[in-house]
């Protein structure tokens, strides 16, 4: 197996046992970035010099007997919205407020402490507002399986870069599906953790009530390792949970005999394309063959939760962007400035009601659904991955409808704050990847990973790599 096809855990082990140097791994990624970047536009910036220097330091430390961290010498790349005081993040924008970005990202700090190397920053939708991967300022990010198709967004570069083996893992943010959608479109795993599981400190806010950092990776074991490093309470983030962080990797091997996999009988499967539905059904057969009990579940009021989430997101986005937008409207693309301004027209009482309803709706959802099943199984994206042209609606009247189709199965879980994992399960008739989504109780990431790991053990979807045409 070639170096780039190793998973994150495999390459970390290879570096730790000195079967390969970090410098060799970094050079492999840089060579691939050089080949793929003109086609994908997955990177906002490539940090070649600093990555090489960090790799050389990692190799020297290992040779000197310094105990390696769990990501020692492994190149990663993240959505360009995790702040470092030493640089200016683009945030996918033409002109971001200069005052933003003064605080260092806690998440990057934890990855640094684990020994990771940052090989670049990744393309994203402008200010993380967009599910397609279009970007008027940095250029559109394209799908590695076919460049005419979207990578989805808003963490578009994360899905594209990890799928194309340009980095061994990535973090993005998920406010309506912004990790799970690009993961699904590009054929990699994408985890949105429970809100509060991972610190928001030093990450550009779109809507702090709803935002959560999420993971892209090419194996379940990789997701477990990355989540285990960044999860846990952060004194810099009062929204972060103090609940103990489990050993996610240890939970993977327990199998899924008797695990109840719930299939929604309402809303989520309505309007799903036939080829997506077929792959979903095949994945359920695989899970049943592994010993899971597949059970029907009725889900309470999912049709309203996407809009409830929008009340929060647009109100908070308008509060954050309002002053800058008033003076710099020309620096926003038409769709993004209209979406950022939508909260200006949402009454404060409606925002407060959406906040007040949230704990009760969550409680009722969890009690109704997870009394009957351990995980929900549903689509991530109910349609085949569309093309850039099909979704290039800008600020036209069609934008709300196009966005609604893309986030239909993901945004409800942002309102609920529940953990959700997108798992590749094959390809649709257009040759693009598709996925199923697992959703669990709060802080049930270990259970989601356990189910996905069992499925990964009997399929090879995440091992398949896109070819450069």
């Amino acid at each position: 197996m070639s170096l780039e096809d190793l998973t994150l855990v495999e390459v970390a082990d290879a570096i730790r046992t000195r079967r390969v140097t970090s410098r060799e791994v970094v050079e492999t990624c840089l060579a691939r970035i050089s080949d793929w970047q003109p086609r994908l536009n997955a990177f906002a910036a490539v940090l070649a010099d600093s990555a090489r220097a960090a790799a050389d330091r990692a190799d020297v430390e290992l040779a000197a007997g310094v105990p390696p961290g769990p990501l020692h010498g492994v190149p990663l790349a993240h959505k360009d919205m995790f702040f470092r005081a030493s640089r200016r993040s683009s945030l996918g924008s033409r002109n971001a407020p200069p005052a933003w970005g003064a605080s260092e990202s806690s998440l990057l700090g934890r990855l640094d402490a684990a020994g990771a190397i940052e090989i670049g920053t990744l393309n994203m939708c402008e200010f993380a507002l967009g599910p397609t991967g279009h970007n008027a300022w940095l250029g559109d990010c394209r799908n590695p399986w076919h460049p005419d198709h979207i990578a989805c967004g808003s963490s578009s570069g994360g899905g594209a870069a990890v799928a194309a083996r340009l980095a061994f893992g990535s973090f993005g943010s998920d406010t309506g599906g912004s990790v799970r959608l690009p993961a699904s479109a590009c054929g990699v795993l994408g985890l949105k953790p429970t809100n509060g599981r991972v610190s928001l400190a030093g990450m550009m806010p779109l809507s702090a009530s709803v935002d959560v950092p999420g993971v892209f990776a090419r194996s379940v074991r990789d997701v477990a390792r990355l989540l285990g490093i960044v999860a846990g309470h952060d004194p810099r983030d009062p929204r972060s949970s103090g609940l103990p962080v489990p050993d996610y990797a240890a939970a993977l091997e327990r199998g899924i005999a008797g695990v109840r996999v719930g299939v929604p009988q309402n809303y989520f499967l309505e309007g799903v394309a036939s080829d997506v539905a077929e792959r979903l059904q095949q994945s359920l057969h695989s899970l049943a063959a592994l010993g899971a009990d597949v059970v029907p579940v009725t889900v309470p009021t999912p049709e309203h939760m996407t809009e409830l989430s929008r009340v929060l997101v647009y109100s908070e986005a308008a509060a954050i962007h309002g002053p800058w937008l008033r003076e710099h409207a020309q620096d926003y693309s038409p769709q993004v400035r209209m979406r950022a301004a939508t909260g200006l027209a949402i009454p404060a009482a409606a925002y407060q009601q959406a906040q007040q309803l949230r704990p009760g709706i969550l409680r009722r959802f969890v009690e109704a659904v997870f009394a009957k099943c351990d995980v929900l199984h549903l689509p991530t994206l109910g349609i085949p991955v569309p093309t850039l042209a099909e979704t290039d609606v800008g600020g036209s009247a069609a934008m709300w409808e196009k966005i609604a189709v893309l986030v239909r199965c993901t945004a409800p879980f942002n309102y609920l704050g529940l953990p959700a994992l997108s798992v590749p399960c094959g390809f649709t008739d257009n040759g693009l990847p598709t996925s199923f989504q697992l959703v669990g109780r709060p802080f049930a990431e270990a259970t989601l990973l356990r189910v996905a790991n069992a499925y990964e053990g009997v399929t090879d979807w995440v091992r398949r790599a896109p070819a450069m045409h």
Binding site: T194, N195, G196, S209, R239, S241, L243, P244, P246, A251, T301, H304, T306, E307, L308, R310, V311, Y314, G322, L325, R326, A329, Q330, P334, R337, M338, R339, A341, T342, G343, L344, A345, I346, P347, A350, Q352, Q353, A354, Q355, Q356, L357, R358, P359, G360, I361, L362, R363, V366, G395, A397, M399, W400, G417, G440, R441, P442, F443, A444, A446, T447
Partner: protein, 71 residues
């Protein structure tokens, strides 16, 4: 019932100094805001008003209370 139409959006935009918002933008913004607010009203019509006495600050605590028990 909230009436969020393009005229209301234009008036709000002027009041808040967002002079870039024209009639076409106001129509798009009104469509998005109206749909979002309608969902809140639909939930409240489903006799969910009792939930309005919940403290929004309890959301993280609710997530923690409903967490999967350790295995």
């Amino acid at each position: 019932m909230n009436e969020i139409d393009s005229n209301a959006v234009l008036a709000l935009a002027r009041a808040q100094g967002h002079d870039w918002i024209d009639v076409a933008a106001a129509q798009r913004i009104a469509a998005g805001a109206a749909a979002a607010v309608a969902a809140v009203e639909a939930i409240l019509r489903q006799r969910e008003a009792a939930l309005l006495i919940d403290d929004p600050a309890s959301f993280l605590a609710t997530l923690e209370q409903l967490a999967e028990p350790p295995r």
